[in-house]
Symmetry: C2
Subunit: 149 residues, 2 copies
């Protein structure tokens, strides 16, 4: 199944802007992109499109579960591909703004329990960590799974 069929399967016409934006996400080394990021990347790729279209496509992709939207402290939202892997937290570098991802099963089950104990059914959650990178980029894991480098 190619990208065009993928879009049709979620009920969207396979238009150039949509295909291009999907490509951008699949090709980008940075998983977390803002509307402005995408707008610039598409233009740089010699494809002309309007910023309004970017916003509309991102919104549609989010509603169909293709993308996930987050906001990391700043004013602009960022989107990432929803690969249907485990729900993960984000670690944002306070110096560079770099975003890394992690998953911890213990935390997730604890959050479910906490919500339950407070009378709620957990529907979704976000965890955002802010930290300064230490000089040596130690990466020995003590159980948490850094999903990506």
């Amino acid at each position: 199944m190619d990208h065009a069929d993928e879009l049709k399967n979620i009920g969207l016409k396979a238009t150039l802007p949509r295909l291009k934006i999907l490509d951008i996400f699949r090709a980008s080394p940075d998983r977390h992109l803002s509307a402005e990021d995408i707008y610039r990347l598409v233009l740089a790729d010699n494809t002309d499109l309007g910023l309004a279209t970017v916003y509309r496509v991102l919104s549609q992709f989010e509603q169909t579960g293709l993308l996930k939207r987050s906001q990391f402290g700043g004013s602009k939202a960022v989107y990432e591909l929803n690969d249907h892997e485990r729900h993960h937290g984000h670690l944002v570098c306070t110096r560079t703004g770099d975003v890394k991802e992690f998953f911890d099963a213990g935390i997730e089950s604890r959050l479910v329990a906490i919500a339950h104990d407070m009378g709620y059914d957990l529907a979704d959650y976000t965890i955002t960590l802010f930290g300064r990178a230490r000089s040596a980029e130690a990466n020995a894991s003590a159980g948490a799974v850094p999903l990506r480098g």
Copy 2:
């Protein structure tokens, strides 16, 4: 020490807008208030002030550690008194928008460890849970501490 002295101690003149906004936070049943919320509450209290002043005061109060700022998915920021209690997570009701707070020591230490393992020193973090309230507002705790109601 009264509110006026409290403001002077953090290096701010004890002006009417600042005293009023501090009062609003101390008196509000809802701990989490947006700039617009405060603007309306102050006006309703027969005190005239500009919205720009509300934003400026909130910003100053945040910088001096009197308030903490959060953003729960939506577009507008909310502020809460920083009582210097434990750093807490938020549970947002997806129906009503109500916000409850909780603290869990295990999660906090786990997050410190995760950041450390990924090469970072944890500086700050946010946890936001979204959930639907169950009919019976069960509140039996299994270890987590709902800080308030």
